[in-house]
Amino acid sequence: MKINHPLLGPRNASEFTILGDAKLLQRPNTPERDQARVFYEYLYLRDNPIGQHQELWFHEQGDRSWLIVSRDTLTHEINNVELASKVIKKGQTQ
């Protein structure tokens, strides 16, 4: 299995450690005191789709970057890999 690192090219998946759904990027960051429900949904509920899925992978044995990998959970095809920091910057500017 290989992940095409945006800066370093295709790398064996054994160099990476997977965390999970990329929705973990959207931590509720202005928490009012009573936001337990929002935090519960953020941390515990998952779409867990059959098909396209955005995931967070850490390049443990590489450049120690967090990547967002768009992968198909049925065919295992990977169609996009980006640096998480770039995606967030894009997100902030939109």
Binding site: L7, R11, N12, S14, Q61, G62, D63, R64, S65, S85
Partner: protein, 200 residues
Amino acid sequence: MIPKGSGYVNKEKLNSALSLDHLNLQWPALSITQSSFKEICSINASLDKQLDLNERFKEEYGISLPAPGKMVNHSTGSVFWVSPSQWFVTSNECNPYFDQLLTKKFNDVSTVTLQTDAWISIKIEGPASLDVLERLIKIDLSERNFPSGSATRTGCSHMTIFIQKPHQEDCFIILGARSYTKSLVHTITQATENILGKKE
């Protein structure tokens, strides 16, 4: 070493010993030896200061910071890319305060950390180098994909290492973590013996 029964102790300097200081394994088609560098520091560009750091580095060393997966030599050592905001700078002069020397030069645009003692460095040289390394490293080290001046971090049988090809065709440098010295040397020796048989 500290001579026995010497008088006032404070005058004694401590002996500096690398954990890998006598590696020399020879086969007709391959040699595995300890490669020498004296100091390494990590230099990390501060937030949004990457271009400034590159400018300051060019002024200081006459070369720009290398692109991802690359290394460049400078007058007293080399520098190689480590992560989107981090490079390792090496020096051939011994100086346990090498990080403070770099901090003075690039303080306002970066942060610096001494790394020398964390790494051992092994040189693998000879026509059989690719045959041995294809049993240890998963990335394509052929000239086409890993030309001279390449350097990157990757896996090597359950360990994490840097692999570099500083200048010529069949000569590679492997940087491994200090505590893994014995395991890394054994793994490389085992792979070589599997191909070239027991060393002389």
